[in-house]
Every structure is written in C-alpha cells, then in structure tokens.
C-alpha cells in the first residue's frame, strides 16, 4: 500500500547496511531525537523514525510488520517510567514489551533485532548512543532473513 515505507529505496547504496525502524513516542523520545539533531550530535543514519502518540500505542504487530517488510532491526522508545504524557501508557507497554522480546527469543529471532528503551526529551545524547549501539549490534547480526516476506 502507498503508505508503506519504502525501505528498499532508503537503504544506502552499495554494500549491505542495517535498516532500522524506530518507533518513538511523540512526547519524549521523538523530542529527544529532535534534540540530538539540533544539537548536531552525530549518530548513524540507518534509522527511519515512525512517530507514535505513546509507547502504549504500539501493537507488537507493528514491529513484526516492520521486520516482515525488510527492516533489519526495530527500536522502540518511550518516556521514562513516571514521565508518560498519558500517566501510565509506558508502564502498560513495558509488560507487553518484556513479553514480546521473550517471545521473539523463544521463536529463535535474535533478541538484538527488536530493542526497547526510554529516552526523555532532554536526552539527545542518550538517543544517539542508543541508536549507535542498536545499529552496531544489528550490523553484527547481518541482514534480517527470518521474517522477511519476498514477493
């Protein structure tokens, strides 16, 4: 469908580079990423951001769809516990994320493919560092082949 991100085209040309889809909550993590940008903190360009209202909005099916569509890794970030714009969205999400991460591991999908963290609006540096770490770990794993759908 037209609204699907065209991951193939956004990948850097030439050798394989990891493609990471990041789901960031609007109130903290997206602002944190923005701060990293305006503060000119360098971080790897392998990330494509999808802004969501709250980490509580994330259905694990989003993450699976990203992997199915060819993402090599997924990063999810929300507000720190206690800081949620909607009071407890991230707390409800935390249980889901914990279980989902385990689920993927039991199915044999490398845990580094899907990562979760908290980044506040003031943590531009933390955001850049997390991205750096995720990209590095996914690069080590190599391309995602297990869930990708090819037509």
């Amino acid at each position: 469908m037209s609204q699907m991100p065209k991951l193939q085209e956004t990948a850097p040309k030439g050798a394989w580079e990891p493609r990471i889809v990041a789901f960031l909550c609007n109130w903290c993590s997206y602002a944190g990423a923005d701060l990293a940008g305006v503060s000119r903190i360098q971080y790897p360009p392998h990330i494509r951001i999808i802004r969501v209202p709250c980490s509580g909005r994330i259905n694990p099916a989003f993450l699976l769809r990203a992997l199915q569509n060819g993402a090599d890794g997924v990063l999810v970030s929300g507000c720190h516990p206690g800081d949620c714009h909607y009071i407890s969205g991230n707390l409800a999400a935390r249980r889901k994320f914990a279980l989902f991460k385990d689920l993927l591991a039991y199915a044999g999908i490398e845990p580094e493919r899907v990562q979760f963290t908290w980044v506040s609006a003031s943590e531009g540096g933390r955001f850049a560092a997390v991205v750096e770490k995720v990209v590095e770990q996914v690069r080590k794993l190599g391309p995602n082949t297990k869930l990708v759908k090819r037509l």
Partner: protein
C-alpha cells in the same frame, strides 16, 4: 479417582435439576457421537433429555468457547433492543475450562451471575489422535472405560484392546497443574492432585536452552505445516475478538496464504495475544487438523508471566488481567541501555 459412570450419573441429576427448576435455560455438556474416541458438545434445554449427557475420557471440548458467542454484546442500540434477554447457562467444566470461564469473566465477556459452573475433578482427558495412533493399523469400532480409567477399545478384528490412560493423555493434561476446578457451583468427583507440576516448565526450558538458530529451526519445523485454516483461533475460548487483527483488511496485517513469513506472523501475534490469557486447555492443539503443537510459544510466555508478574490466568475472578495491570517497579532488565 471417582469412576466416570458415577460422575456421569451425578452430572445428569444436576443438569436435570437445574433445567427442571428453571435455574438455567441451557445446559452445556457432552454427548455420544458417531465415532469412538470422541464426544460432541450437547446443548441441552429439556430436563428429560439429561440422560444424553455423558462423561468419559474423551470429553475434550472446552465448552467455555461457546460462552462468548452466547453472551455476545449487541452491535448497536437497535440490536440491543431486539436482542432476547441473556440466557442463564449451566456448563460442565474441567480445571482448565474453569480457568477459561474465570478469565472471560475477568475480561467482562461473560457475566458470572448468568452462569452455573458444574466442575468435574478432572482425571485428565485422552487425546483422540494419540488413542488412534496407539492402535496402529487398526481402527476402533467402539470404546469404553475400565474401572481404572483406562480406555478399552474394540478393534476391527473383534479383539478388545486396553489403552492405558497415561499413555494417551493429551499433552495439555500431562502438563496440567490444577485439574480440579477451583471455582465452581457444583463439584463432581474427588479433587485430584496435579500429575506432574513440572512438565510445562521442563518443556519450556528445554526449548530455551537451545541456541537461536536451533529454536528458529524448531519453530519453522513446527509451524511450516500450518495451512492457515484458523481452527486454533476458532477453538480457543479466549479468542473472542469481534474483529480479529488477522482478519482486518485495512491495513491487512498478515497475508492470507502459507508463505512462512505470514505463518510466522500469525502464530507470533496469536501467541502474544495469549500471553497471560491462555488457560492451557489445549483446545488449539486438538483443533489443529495438522497436529501442530500450537502451544509451543505460549507455554513459555505463560511461565514468563508467572515469573515476572506472579500471575496465572483464570485463577482469581477479581484479578485485573496481567497485561491490563502494571507496577512502577515492574522488571525492565530487557531494556537497551547505551
């Protein structure tokens, strides 16, 4: 263990009484069907037909699956006006089935006050496929039960074969930790203890101990047989969503075919939705026409839920479902730190 025929007699009395005294409008139980090693759900409304109810090692269907349908919320105000008043339903429940009912009450799908729970202390149910396979090239033409609870089958050449109950028990029953319904209005049979409380954990840990590659291979091997018929979802009492994610067309989350990517997504999504909700009745495994161990992943997830949040699905009627609840200090070691 109370003999099946005693439970059966008592069951018929209870059902007849409930229907006769108008305590329930409908009684759900099991009846004999055309093939051996099986029973069929019985929707009983007439007290004088209560002798159709049976109790034997093959009363496998989790009757809670019909509740969400019977108590389906009307789609709109107009439908609500026309809808007949909700019935009062009595039903036969094993330990696992009771947990399904409790979970449905917890999730507000079914009103407790409209239910009469007739619990049976469950000795473990036989698996139709295991029983059939145990006969090798022969087919049973009739089946009964001996006083020890073993299955006796008459096969095609006229001989009688005894199948030991333990050898043909369903996998879910081998793993069962609470065979006796904890919540009930009637309890038939003497409460029995769990057979082996560790089986599920042992199975789950065995899977976990393998490296990711081997786990993926196991996942693939188990689920690549899937024909995407949705029987696991339809047989599951907890799969009551009116508009299942798997059926949604906009966006279409999961392709309809048997590309392994779609098969994997289907089972991952379904397992996730079952985390902390699956009452481990094994209905999905029984319904699967391909004989897949559908519970492979959720078996482990349920243990996670228990370890992390001290919660077992369907055990406390007033508990908040585990994924609707949270605590500020929930474990979060899984998070990525820079």
């Amino acid at each position: 263990m109370t003999a099946s025929h005693e439970i059966e007699t008592r069951l018929r009395e209870v059902a007849e009484g409930l229907l006769g005294d108008r305590k329930v409008d409908l009684f759900l139980g099991y009846e004999k069907t055309t093939l051996p090693f099986r029973t069929s759900p019985l929707f009983l409304t007439a007290p004088d037909k209560a002798n159709r109810l049976v109790w034997n090692p093959f009363c496998t269907v989790n009757l809670a699956v019909y509740l969400a349908r019977l108590f389906k919320a009307p789609a709109d105000a107009r439908e609500a006006q026309r809808a007949p008043p909700a019935p009062t339903v009595g039903l036969v429940l094993k330990g696992c089935d009771t947990r399904s009912v409790v979970a449905l009450v917890q999730e507000r799908q079914v009103p407790r006050e409209k239910l009469v729970l007739v619990g049976v202390a469950c000795p473990g149910m036989a698996d139709t496929r295991k029983a059939e396979r145990a006969l090798g090239q022969y087919e049973a033409l009739g089946a009964g039960e001996d006083p020890q609870g073993n299955v006796r089958a008459v096969i095609e050449d006229g001989t009688e074969v005894t199948l030991r109950r333990e050898e043909i028990l369903a996998d879910a029953c081998l793993e069962c930790r609470s065979p006796t319904p904890a919540i009930h209005d009637f309890l038939l049979g003497e409460p029995s203890e769990a057979r082996n409380a560790d089986v599920a954990r042992r199975r789950a840990v065995e899977l976990e101990s393998q490296p990711p590659g081997a786990r993926w291979a196991r996942f693939q091997e188990a689920f690549s047989k899937c024909i995407r018929c949705n029987a696991c979802r339809q047989a599951c009492p907890m799969c009551y969503c009116k508009d299942c994610l798997l059926d949604q067309a906009r966006p279409r989350w999961i392709g309809a075919g048997t590309d392994f990517s779609d098969v994997a997504l289907y089972h991952l999504v379904r397992a996730f939705h079952m985390a902390g909700r699956c009452t481990e009745c094994g209905a999905c495994v029984r319904a699967c026409p391909m004989g897949i161990d559908v519970r492979l992943l959720v078996r482990r997830l349920n243990l996670d839920v228990e370890d992390l949040y001290k919660y077992r699905p369907g055990t406390a009627i007033d508990a908040v479902p585990v994924l609707s609840a949270f605590a500020i200090d929930d474990p979060q070691e899984f998070l990525t730190e820079p």
